[in-house]
């Protein structure tokens, strides 16, 4: 089984650890596949404006540098640790209301997709790029300082067809609703700090290459989750 984490932030957005150190941290811990998914924040409200102002977001301008740095680290990680790195982003549509907020992982993205686009446009563009679409922390979380992101769950009848997988577990939280609905699932750490290394992870029973990993998640066959502890 491949030990995987598909939800990782670095200093390209609001993570506290730089990309290189993050890669080393996961490589040294024996991970097989990780996705770097820094935030792309919508700039159409005060949250997003602040995030963009203080560089807590990958932007259209920084996207190329971000992708090229991830590619460079991916090559190093493969040579040194035999670890596959997939470039991605977390489309972050924040609002003052939990019901209107949503976060989406786009894994194996190739071109920049702004978070200010409408949901359907984002989904279609991601599909066009053959990126994996994952709904993050789709239900109530235990983090009281965090505005829940319930939009996709509340509108699942409309959007579930676009979503390849839902996060059934995020860091320390488990969302049993995903299980009850029998949606395809993965788990991720939502890594921002070193201590988040020890959290829920995905285990995939597939080959260690990009297409096999994406296929495994989409088919949701051979997927398991594990609480990674030291």
């Amino acid at each position: 089984m491949l030990l995987c984490d598909f939800h990782i932030h670095t200093r390209y957005s609001d993570g506290s650890v730089g990309l290189r150190r993050t890669v080393d941290l996961f490589g040294q811990a024996g991970f097989d596949v990780i996705a770097i998914t820094d935030h792309v924040v919508n700039g159409d409200n005060p949250f997003g404006k602040l995030a963009n102002r203080f560089k807590f977001s990958v932007t259209g301008e920084s996207f190329e540098a971000y992708m090229s740095h991830v590619a460079e680290e991916a090559e190093r990680a493969w040579d040194r640790y035999g670890m596959l790195i997939i470039p991605g982003v977390e489309i972050t549509k924040n609002s003052f209301s939990s019901d209107k907020s949503a976060h989406l992982l786009l894994i194996d993205i190739k071109e920049f997709i702004p978070a200010s686009w409408g949901y359907e446009k984002i989904f279609l563009e991601a599909k066009k790029q053959d990126a994996l679409i994952v709904a993050c922390h789709p239900h109530r979380t235990s983090d009281k300082s965090f505005i829940d992101t319930l939009f996709l769950w509340n509108n699942r009848d409309k959007y579930a067809k676009y979503i390849d997988a839902w996060e059934i577990a995020n860091r320390d939280d488990v969302f049993n609703v995903i299980s009850l609905k029998k949606y395809p699932y993965i788990a991720g750490s939502d890594f921002h700090r070193v201590r988040h290394l020890y959290s829920w992870k995905s285990l995939l029973n597939c080959k260690k290459d990009m297409e096999s990993v994406k296929q495994c998640i989409r088919s949701n066959w051979g997927v398991a989750i594990t609480l990674f502890r030291n």
Binding site: Q28, A29, G30, G82, V194
Partner: protein, 400 residues
């Protein structure tokens, strides 16, 4: 006033000892003429790495032992459980160096109370060469490591070669404290004892010995129930009229992401070991912590011009001294981190008191009571158990 002067003498003594430690480090690390010369024979070596859990830089640490510039050696990674997160890492290391003689031994073993020694038994049985190197998983070495440390073994009188340790990689407060402490107090004392008193400290991070010598002292069985197995292996080998050599090859102990609690836990455990081994000599340790002793006048006489200037001077001397040591060791530590050195010494001073009130240790997930010579016994469930429960409750509440 008399008390003030007594404390002044103790502080001065601490500073003199500290200076002697620095000199000892300089003398130990100074390039010497190669007395041992190149060995004519490089004995094949079995490297035994007992593993439990993820250490900082684990992959890199293990990798460094697989790329040794040495004619014939094998690496044995030993674990108690396939579910150990380190298992995945060693599998990857083995896959990466598929052409190297690397073995992974997974076997539960409960011969004694020391979990590390339990982990060593299966690997020791599996090892095929007459010379073994036992080394912890949290150290990294250069490719010339084996070639260098094997030199003293040319002399049949030498029974064990151990190494000096340098702390590197501090990225959090706990790991910065740990590295500052390893590179000043621990390294300084190891060099001091070895240079002036001819007492080499054996630390389990690297122990090279012959199987015949280990078996002559009773093998691993003789240390299965003591916590300081490394110290007693060294003592017993010395008891066999064999020499223990402290190599000046610095091995790197990688401590990157420690929190303060891990730092405190380790040094409480080490303090308890030194108290159980050294007895009254342990009391002297406080006098060689000048920062802590310089706080005492401030505590007893309040913040006066004298007490504050004494404390400030000692802190400045300690910062400069630790910085100087760090530079000598080529430690890649940010210069500003040395400003934390007095604070670390203060914490260490407080830790020094713990062994007098508590003789239990938690190591690798097990709680033991530690008797004379660090002999372990299961922690009694009766009497005093309530205080551990309260402590565990507080820890659970504070856990993030």
């Amino acid at each position: 006033m008399v008390l003030f002067w007594i404390l002044g003498v103790i502080i001065l003594w601490g500073l003199i000892m500290y200076t002697l430690q620095i000199v000892a480090v300089r003398l130990t690390l100074a390039p010497t003429r190669n007395r041992e010369g190149d060995p004519r024979i490089y004995p094949p070596i079995s490297i035994i790495k007992p593993l439990k859990g993820l250490e900082d830089n684990l992959f890199g640490n293990l990798e460094s032992f697989c790329v040794q510039d040495y004619p014939e050696y094998e690496v044995i990674f030993s674990l108690q459980d396939e579910n150990d997160p380190a298992y995945k890492v060693v599998r990857k290391v083995k896959d990466k160096f598929a052409d190297k003689p690397i073995s992974i031994v997974v076997e539960r073993c409960h011969h004694g109370f020391n979990p590390k020694v339990n982990n060593l038994f299966p690997a020791y049985r599996h090892s095929k060469y007459p010379t073994i190197l036992i080394s912890d998983s949290n150290v990294t070495v250069g490719p010339d490591y084996l070639r260098t440390i094997v030199k003293p073994m040319n002399n049949s009188k030498v029974g064990l070669v151990c190494n000096l340790i340098k702390g590197i990689g501090g990225k959090t407060i706990g790991s910065i404290f740990e590295n500052l402490h390893l590179n000043s107090f621990i390294l300084g004392n190891m060099c001091f004892l070895n240079k002036y008193l001819r007492i080499p400290c054996v630390v389990g991070k690297s122990m090279l010995m012959r199987k015949s010598d280990l078996e002559a002292i009773g093998g691993l069985t003789s240390v299965k129930d003591v916590l300081a197995e490394d110290h007693f292996i060294g003592e017993k080998i010395r008891g066999q009229k064999q020499t223990v050599v402290l190599s000046n090859y610095l091995i790197h102990n990688v401590n990157e992401y420690w929190n303060l609690r891990k730092f405190i836990n380790r040094h409480v455990r080490w303090g308890k070991m030194r108290w159980k081994i050294g007895g009254m000599k342990y009391l002297l340790e406080l006098t060689i912590n000048p920062v802590f002793t310089a706080c005492l006048p401030l505590l007893l006489f309040g913040p006066t011009e004298k007490t504050l200037s004494v404390l400030t001077s000692v802190c400045v001397i300690k910062i400069i001294g630790d910085f100087y040591l760090g530079r000598n060791l080529s430690t890649p530590m940010h210069p500003l981190f040395y400003l934390l050195s007095p604070l670390k010494d203060l914490v260490i001073g407080l830790i020094w008191l713990v062994p007098f009130v508590d003789d239990t240790v938690v190591w690798r997930g097990n709680r033991y009571r530690m008797g004379k010579d660090t002999r372990l016994s299961l922690c009694s469930e009766r009497g005093g158990e309530w205080k551990y429960r309260i402590m565990e409750g507080i820890k659970a509440k504070l856990a993030w």
